[in-house]
Symmetry: C2
Amino acid sequence: MAHRKRHLFVCVNRRPDGTPKGSCAARGSVELHARLKDMLKQRGLAETEVRACTSSCLDVCWVGPSIAVEPDHFVYGRVGEGDLEAIVDGLERGQRVERLVLQPADFELPKELKALEKAEKKPI
Amino acid sequence: MAHRKRHLFVCVNRRPDGTPKGSCAARGSVELHARLKDMLKQRGLAETEVRACTSSCLDVCWVGPSIAVEPDHFVYGRVGEGDLEAIVDGLERGQRVERLVLQPADFELPKELKALEKAEKKPI
């Protein structure tokens, strides 16, 4: 196998149920990764073009499920099963699915979670 | 937290003991990841510069432990505890540690493992 042109890193971090910021696995990312792997294989992209890996926390739990797309170095967020077709189409054409691309503000812990963290005096 | 300038993805895939091609976790990658995280924090790089994540198999088991460096899109291989200082120094300076960078031939399953796979008629 060659070094693939792109790597997807699907966060599969799981936090305990009820964690305020949630986690990608609790939002279904394990299943998303498995489906992505299948789709890439079916489209003939898996062996040379794109490898779909799982990863630990990408630090954007509140907008998960999140997927780091490298070497393009952007992150898809709030990804659902219904987005995978567009994501794989995009990989085939070398295009991003703009509506899913996280913006700078998405990388910041939302205000209400910041307030909660301050009140609890520990990471939430 | 901002989107870090770089992500390291340390393969922590573990295969059963005795698997011919071995695995990164069996070669100590879980400990390497933990140490890298500590070092990045100590050097003040963790919050904005570099995030060290774990990942599933990067498909170069035979030259593991392996670490994908993104968005530079190269892979460090055969990484040992003694290499981490040079890796983190390199991240600080924006330089690669050339002796650890996997070359195109490293991405191919070695001949002896290919022969074994052929003999066993299944992935090894």
